[in-house]
């Protein structure tokens, strides 16, 4: 079943002025319930516009955004409640922290939803576990946390709203390998527990290949490719053509094939590459 759907959505910035810029051009996409979807493309491909259309911060010029089959921008609709159902985490979300304690900041969204104190408390304590913050952090000022912890607290603030769809714009930007692992791992465990739909926008093919069930590749305001990771990686040349960085291991498999070794090239993890090479070597290396 489709949770969230875009039907022929177009969006133009500063329409009618000489600075107008078409960010999205008749995009149709559907996000299935309970999946992690990786949205990939380089800067200016329209993905940041897309995420703001998903929760009604922007309104499409043409087309419609459907949540459970209903147009979110319909007359008489309540956008605020849409935003509780489609949670959006912006890039560098740590800049939105403002409360005196981490607890209060995470509780801000649930409080706005009008949840009871007990329910809010339960959600705050549950989400900090997902993102791997200790309970001691809850009473601290968010500004005393380290960079990676701030990021996780900010993400927890949206998770605590328990949105049916969670959208994250570059959640791991600027973090070191440990930080990336912590934040992406946290999102993954949240999704597996809550069975919600998660959409992650990223530049990193490597990260997305590891975590998502489905990939959507965007280019110049249009959807270029979509499908399972395997399907998308089955044509790595197309990805490099539009200037995307494919994982080094995929480039390696392509380089091997170019040298006449008959290996699969739809590979994006080290583990898979190893199995594939052992397969083509036919056990000769042990001799």
């Amino acid at each position: 079943m489709n949770k969230l759907e875009l039907k022929n959505v177009s969006y133009t910035y500063s329409a009618g002025t000489p600075f107008c810029k078409k960010a999205l051009d008749s995009v149709s996409l559907s996000f299935e319930k309970g999946q992690i979807i990786g949205l990939i493309g380089h800067t200016g491909c329209g993905k940041s516009t897309l995420v703001q259309l998903l929760n009604g911060l922007l309104t499409p010029d043409e087309g419609a955004v459907l949540l459970d089959g209903q147009d979110i921008n319909r007359k008489g609709g309540d956008l605020r409640s849409v935003r509780f159902r489609v949670g959006l985490v912006f890039q560098y979300p740590e800049y939105q922290l403002f409360e005196e304690t981490v607890y209060a900041d995470i509780a801000y969204g649930p409080k706005n939803m009008g949840l009871s104190k007990e329910e809010t408390d339960r959600r705050v304590r549950e989400t900090v576990q997902f993102v791997g913050l200790s309970e001691d952090c809850l009473s601290m000022s968010p500004f005393d946390l380290s960079g990676g912890q701030k990021r996780r607290a900010a993400v927890a603030g949206i998770m605590a709203m328990e949105p049916e769809v969670l959208v994250l714009d570059e959640p791991a930007a600027g973090l070191d390998p440990i930080g990336r692992e912590e934040i992406l791992g946290g999102i993954f465990s949240y999704q597996r527990k809550k069975k919600s739909t998660v959409i992650i926008v990223s530049h990193s093919m490597e990260d997305m290949a590891r975590y998502s069930d489905r990939l959507v590749v965007m280019n110049r305001g249009r959807v270029l490719m979509q499908g399972s990771c395997r399907e998308v990686f089955s044509r790595p040349e197309r990805l490099t053509e539009i200037g995307l960085d494919i994982p080094q291991i995929t480039r390696f498999m392509l380089a091997l094939r170019k040298r006449g070794i008959d290996v699969r090239t739809d590979i994006f993890t080290v583990e898979e590459a190893k199995d594939e090479i052992i397969r083509v070597s036919g056990g000769r290396h042990r001799a």
Binding site: H42, S146, P177, I277
Partner: protein
């Protein structure tokens, strides 16, 4: 005798007493290090490993708790340093920061590049010449009249670099200057760094947590818990996969793959960095 631009001897740094307990242990702990003139050195470490503190010490933004720093043979920790001496150090050791937005001062690109030379009291005609040369070197000449907020992240960083080049530095330190950029911007900045080092002979210290960027360096130094953890050529350092993982760092995927294959009995070297050389080796081993 090797010509060292920077010599660090037994350097320690502890943040002056602050309320948060986690800052009390030393950020840098008895570090000794020599940087050869004209070399391209990459400093790796996870967040909080102390690598950025080192940059600020070399530039005299921070003062060491103990130890000595020699720049071009001159001891900059000497309390007899005059203000003129300090400015001479800052002129010869340029620093590019992480956030591209927070280091540009003027509302026009070329005015910003002129900011450093103006502070040094260089005659106007010469500033003009230096600014033009610096903008040409980073490929931003056509943006000379733009305002910084019209530029992409990568372009802003290139303007910041031009601002330093115009001061004719001996060394430029990049303090995680690629961390907030998208892949395109990262490529632009990395190409510029390589050019500075090769063509202008400027010594480069590149601080990062991104492994791929370290591959191009002459030398890689890994800092962990305030101490020098690994030091050598990229090949030497990246062959120590277990140690790197323990320090919270990744290795390039191809290096990881070769390590796995070695464990399976393949007779392959451990110091492979690029996919092309790896493919070449493996292809000849398999045929």
């Amino acid at each position: 005798m090797t010509d060292y631009l920077i010599s660090v001897k037994d350097l320690s740094f502890t943040y002056p007493e602050s309320e948060d307990a986690h800052r009390e242990h030393p950020v840098l702990n008895h570090i000794s290090l020599d940087i050869e003139r004209g070399s391209f050195v990459c400093i790796l470490g996870h967040n909080g490993s102390g690598k950025s503190t080192l940059a600020k010490l070399l530039n005299m933004i921070l003062t060491p708790t103990s130890g000595q720093i020699l720049i071009d043979g001159k001891d900059i920790t000497d309390p007899q340093m005059t203000e003129e001496d300090i400015f001479e150090v800052r002129r010869s050791i340029g620093l590019v920061f992480q956030n591209p937005d927070n280091q540009l001062v003027a509302t026009v690109v070329e005015e910003d590049v002129a900011f450093g030379p103006e502070n040094l009291g260089i005659p106007p005609a010469e500033i003009r010449e230096r600014v033009d040369n610096a903008l040409r070197a980073v490929g931003m000449t056509e943006y000379a009249g733009h305002s910084p907020h019209q530029l992409s992240g990568g372009q802003k960083q290139r303007v910041a670099i031009a601002g330093l080049i115009a001061m004719l530095p001996k060394c430029i330190i990049f303090d995680e200057s690629t961390a907030m950029l998208d892949p395109q911007g990262r490529k632009e900045v990395m190409n510029t760094i390589g050019m500075l080092n090769r063509e202008k002979g400027i010594t480069v210290l590149h601080i990062t947590h991104n492994m791929d960027e370290a591959v191009a360096a002459d030398r890689v130094i890994v800092i962990n818990e305030g101490e020098i953890y690994l030091d050598g050529t990229p090949r030497q350092v990246f062959s120590e996969i277990d140690k790197l993982n323990a320090a919270g760092l990744d290795v390039p995927q191809v290096t990881a793959l070769f390590a796995e294959l070695r464990q399976c009995g393949f007779g392959l070297p451990a110091d492979i960095l690029s996919e092309e050389e790896g493919a070449e080796l493996l292809a000849s081993a398999l045929t």
